[in-house]
Symmetry: C3
Subunit: 139 residues, 3 copies
């Protein structure tokens, strides 16, 4: 059995989904694990992870439009506004999506479905550098 762990930095460039599939693939490939799981963890509460359709960029655009309508910036319901109108919405979006995702590893590779990509979702409007910790376990 093997455990391999690596932390990667992602510069997000602002609100939206950023494809990190190839970075995760690289860590899996370097781990030596042939069969097992790959745990991906976002070390933040205003950025998170999703698995989403990777073929038509409009899917990510529509998802962002839908989230922006569901959790509007500047909602008067929110009292926690220390960092601006997008502060509390970013925390809510993070809770609704995923701080961690676990993906299967088979034959030494990430075993995703044909149309699946792994995305780091920046929920703040401004660009941030985010940390993602990847842990591969198996044999």
């Amino acid at each position: 059995m093997t455990v391999a762990q690596e932390s990667i930095s992602i510069h997000t460039g602002g609100r939206g989904a950023h494809d990190i599939t190839s970075e995760v693939e690289r860590v899996v490939g370097g781990s030596g694990v042939r069969i097992g799981t790959c745990h991906v963890f976002a070390s933040h509460t205003s950025a998170s992870l999703i698995v989403c359709e990777n073929a038509d960029p409009q899917v990510l655009g529509d998802l962002e439009a839908w989230l922006a309508r569901l959790v509007p910036d500047g909602d008067r319901l929110f009292r926690h506004t220390a960092e601006g109108r997008d502060d509390m919405p970013a925390h809510v979006r993070s809770v609704l999506t995923h701080t961690d995702v676990v993906l299967p590893v088979s034959a030494g590779r990430l075993r995703l479905g044909t149309w699946q990509g792994v995305y780091l979702y920046e929920h703040r409007i401004a660009a941030h550098t985010r940390q993602v910790i990847i842990t591969v376990q198996g044999e």
Copy 2:
């Protein structure tokens, strides 16, 4: 330490939650793992996984009614409509629920709470055959 991985096909029969608890139990039982975790992964972006109440079928009916109201089919917000009015809603529902769930294994069995079942949620209106990859790890 042991890693066992199996892919199963589920014919969903159309939109709604489909109980896969017994299929997951079977893979855990055959893995030889006594204590550890069971990772369940849906290889899709328009079908996903939930853990939900398994006693009263009205819970799943109410959940579907609530999701249909929150993410209405044919919402004019969506531009990605290539596969129909339920295409983009299915992607949004998948992101809001879970592409993967991890369950504890104890004494060689899935250790769920009394009222917990594991469900594959078909978010498209039409029936589909879906792939679920199950990875059991432990000793």
Copy 3:
């Protein structure tokens, strides 16, 4: 490789987020695992887990206010009302958040981001005693 599993009881004191980070830390510390993952599982369908900002209590207050507006108690859409106006909303909130979270372990400790805490979210109005199963795997 090591697998350590422990079940802990949490008395929630009613609806809201209850910080369980130190309990999870304690199990990780006692496991002997230096590098790997920590799986946290809520054995319920009306209480769940979130990872959220741990510095300003208003974040959790705002999150609760937002969830209460999104999934209102006593919604006439719901037919499953056996246990009261907060019964079905608790199931919906559980599905929207997380029955399980997986956290990285490094250098024998939980490796959370600076502002991350792990919370058991009680979605029922009344206080309950809830079971959380923690499984630490790694080497």
